[in-house]
Symmetry: C2
Subunit: 211 residues, 2 copies
């Protein structure tokens, strides 16, 4: 398989963690989101992914999978071991809820597209953009802090889907200088995950296109 | 089970469709997002859902499920018939990708919170807010148009997860007066789904709190 992604993209990082936890090591095909006017917007890349976003995962039979939430559920179905989700349906829903808070309520609001829109089209200064980012991260981190466990990874002794989503989101929060002191459980779960070999292998700084 | 939702909320509408397709008819507990300063922000509601958002689904044993993507996956696991997803993992990933485009790349950007932030905190006039909404809907509808099928529902003769997400998103697009002419496949799939009894029962206008 081949992974089209970008080293610092939150959703690429998330997918890399899931792949690494499953013991999968796809070839990497970096797509630079800034250089050449954004390589994700090129005709060549849009032939792979008509949405023109990263990540995309191309399987060995040529099937193209897009959208990290869909790709990660695919990985869980086809490579069930080790599992990213518990067995009980209610427990699975609780883990997926934390993933959805990151994937739907935080990341989309500070993705590069909306931030550029705020800057360019709405003429917002950097302080207003930073306040926007900080608001959405802090607001939903407060909810996650109330939902995850008191020790270990987000939901127990092994990392799972919630950790896969949370760690790249904390990476982004640090990059945007959002204070994390109000969220000791999130910091604890992130620190623990960051020591795990799969999370280390997936870290932006370890990717071939890291700057 | 009891559904906490709001008649016009995109994610409540989405969950209502999934419930109706599964033949489930939970009691409804409307949560008014405007009245009383927003009932979702109340202490009483936050005891049910610490994130203070709709929808929430309370099961008969008292378990609380939050976040529509997580709840819908729960429904698919516990009530597999009729299925919202095909059997083949790659086909499932393609359907989930369309759901994720709606759930991650469109809806979060025109949710009530971000729009209020644009208006109140960033002082944006209504024309700028409308342009923001239209941009995100049109941009991702173009991708969905390239991903769904040429006839029938989004992916074949029966409605599924992609339709569950798409129909409320088209409802929102119409409410925001976003032109749909460039998206004939989306309009076709939506029109077909809107004639289905489950989609009709879930329509905002048919809910007890509709205004």
């Amino acid at each position: 398989m081949t992974l089209y992604g970008y080293w610092r993209s939150t959703s690429s990082y998330r997918l890399r963690i899931a792949l690494a936890l499953k013991g999968l090591t796809p070839e990497q095909a970096p797509v630079h989101l800034v250089r050449n006017g954004g390589e994700h917007r090129s005709e060549a890349y849009r032939r792979i992914n008509p949405q023109g976003r990263v990540p995309s995962l191309v399987l060995d039979d040529g099937s193209v999978l897009i959208q990290s939430p869909a790709i990660i559920e695919y990985l869980e179905e086809v490579y069930p071991d080790p599992p990213l989700l518990p067995a009980d349906p209610v427990a699975r829903a609780r883990v997926r809820a934390v993933a959805a808070i990151v994937g739907c309520d935080i990341h989309p609001l500070h993705n590069v597209g909306p931030l550029n829109h705020l800057r360019r089209d709405l003429g917002q200064p950097e302080e207003a953009v930073a306040a926007w980012i900080g608001h959405w991260i802090s607001d939903s981190f407060a909810a996650i802090e109330a939902l995850i466990g008191e020790d270990g990874h987000c939901f127990g002794p092994e990392p799972g889907l919630a950790d896969v989503y949370l760690v790249p989101q904390v990476y982004a929060a640090r990059r945007f200088a959002v204070p994390l002191e109000p969220f000791p459980r999130i910091v604890r779960a992130t620190t623990l995950a960051e020591a795990h070999p799969a999370f280390q292998a997936a870290h932006p700084s370890r990717q071939p296109d890291a700057e």
